[in-house]
Amino acid sequence: MTKLNLSLPGLDLKNPIMPASGCFGFGKEFSEFYDLSELGAIIIKAATGETRYGNPTPRVAETSAGMLNAIGLQNPGVDRIISDELPYLSNYDTPVIANVAGSTVEEYVEVAEKISQSSTIKALELNISCPNVKEGGVQFGTDAALAAEVTRQVKQASEVPVYVKLSPNVTDIVGMAKAVEKAGADGLSMINTLTGMRLDLQRRKPIIANQTGGLSGPAIKPIAIRMIYQVYQEVDLPIIGMGGIETVDDIIEFLFAGASAVAVGSANFKNPFICKELIDQFPEAMERYGFDQVEEMIGGAHR
């Protein structure tokens, strides 16, 4: 019998596969396609202190082996997420992880404090890595001292474990991971998108109204694998890995690099059934590589 389940801080996962933040809304739309209880967990769309309307459109563009997005953290604000979105998710037997964003440390703390009190939320994913907003977001994710500070304060405010979502837009990913580890993070989530741009050749202008957007999809997978591999060697925190996952072999590559669980983002747009299909196919893939427990696969490339 293959054993797919594992425990991470705050999270009892049936399997290590979950949708990534911003690519699954608050779950409702996908519940038309399959039973959300099959998922290892659900990471919901970013929450900020107030309602945000996000960036002008176009907000997405296709690229070679990926896509750019600049949604700009559009969300109804933490209070309405708690009152309007979480009750629906509590109907499912799967842990929900809240993605927490803000422009100031105070805003991060406010959101973390409020949303972590909901019994539906089992962990926070601290989003210090959104490249698509003018202030906040990625500046916290590219400066180790700021990242440590926001982690420390959110940790204090939160009732549940905190996974810090790292930005790949840095030269020293290990330094960032160590800084948030020292500040008390319970886990890491990596990677967020890489800042990119595409031009419309007719108009000679960026396709995305925000000009730059975050690159996701298979194009960024080698970067994610490299970063997780390096961080796993130096840091003692569980990692939720993401970046371009489309197949069960991709998942195994993330686990071998050092991820304990994985999140699937943009691939949900191509195939809304992808998470369920990967979960169904995963046991057979584990056996193919000679494993019967997920736990044994984590960090497999380092032994």
Partner: protein, 255 residues
């Protein structure tokens, strides 16, 4: 309900300059709620995004639906190379179309521009079936890009405009509208954003429904790629084109 299936291409032909008609067969047509909904097509498995294309006609009993599309970029160019017998990865039907069951129109005006014409055809057929009189204004760039004039003529009176005057009336669809005053009570329009804006300004005061385009991500309402702002005072402040639309009542969103 939206489903994902490999639909079979049962016919595929060029009908105007860079413009094609494709008929697809499968279970999906049985799920169509109204005209104005779209299908979200993964043209090549290596693409990262699907392409939204309106349902131009459907026969749920036979399991067929028709799409009309124009070659614009990489995806639609690849689509034009596919042949009868090939299969296509289709997700749909998506969004909310023209809510014809709750509309009290007696005489409808349809205004389509370019590749915005397709969803109006399925709409026109259903309006006609309900006994509603249909008048259509179709705008194209030039003679070679004109399509479906005959098909619409079978359902009512048709006016065609071309930008350069090479066919029909020279000018824009909005040039025809003053002549039609008093001949309709409700209008339906689909086309480029500038045209929709001009049409809704010209027809201010009439009940109107507009089908809007934007670049989509998920196409199912989850990613916020496709939002359009709602007027001040709206509780939510925005609408998702893929999920709340693509059809909106005039005034529901800011063009």
């Amino acid at each position: 309900m939206m489903i994902r299936e490999e639909m079979e291409i049962i016919s595929h032909e060029r009908i105007a300059e860079d413009t094609y008609r494709m008929v697809l067969l499968g279970d999906l047509p049985a799920e169509i709620k109204q005209p104005g909904q779209f299908v979200h097509i993964l043209i090549d498995q290596s693409d990262s995004l699907r392409r939204p294309i309106s349902i131009a006609d459907a026969d749920p009993a036979k399991g067929t639906l028709t799409i009309l599309y124009k070659i614009l970029g990489k995806g639609t160019a690849a689509l034009s190379k596919m042949q009868s017998g090939d299969h296509l990865d289709v997700l749909g039907p998506g969004g909310n179309g023209f809510l014809i069951d709750s509309i009290s129109a007696e005489r409808a005006l349809l205004v389509g521009g370019g590749i915005g014409v397709p969803p109006l055809y399925y709409l026109a057929r259903q309006l006609k079936e309900k006994g509603i009189e249909v008048t259509t204004v179709l705008g194209f760039q030039h003679e070679a890009s004109v399509f479906f004039e005959e098909e619409f003529r079978e359902l009512g009176e048709v006016f065609v405009t071309t930008n350069d005057g090479s066919y029909g009336n020279k000018g824009f669809v909005t040039d025809i509208l003053p002549d039609l005053d008093g001949r309709f009570d409700t209008y339906f329009s689909c086309g480029p954003a500038v045209m929709l804006k001009a049409v809704s300004e010209k027809l201010d005061g009439y009940e109107g429904y507009l089908s809007i385009e934007e670049r989509l991500g998920c196409g199912v309402g989850a990613c916020f790629a496709c939002v359009v702002q709602a007027p001040e005072g709206d509780a939510k402040g925005y609408r998702k084109i893929c999920h709340d639309g693509p059809v909106f009542r005039t005034g529901e969103v800011i063009l």
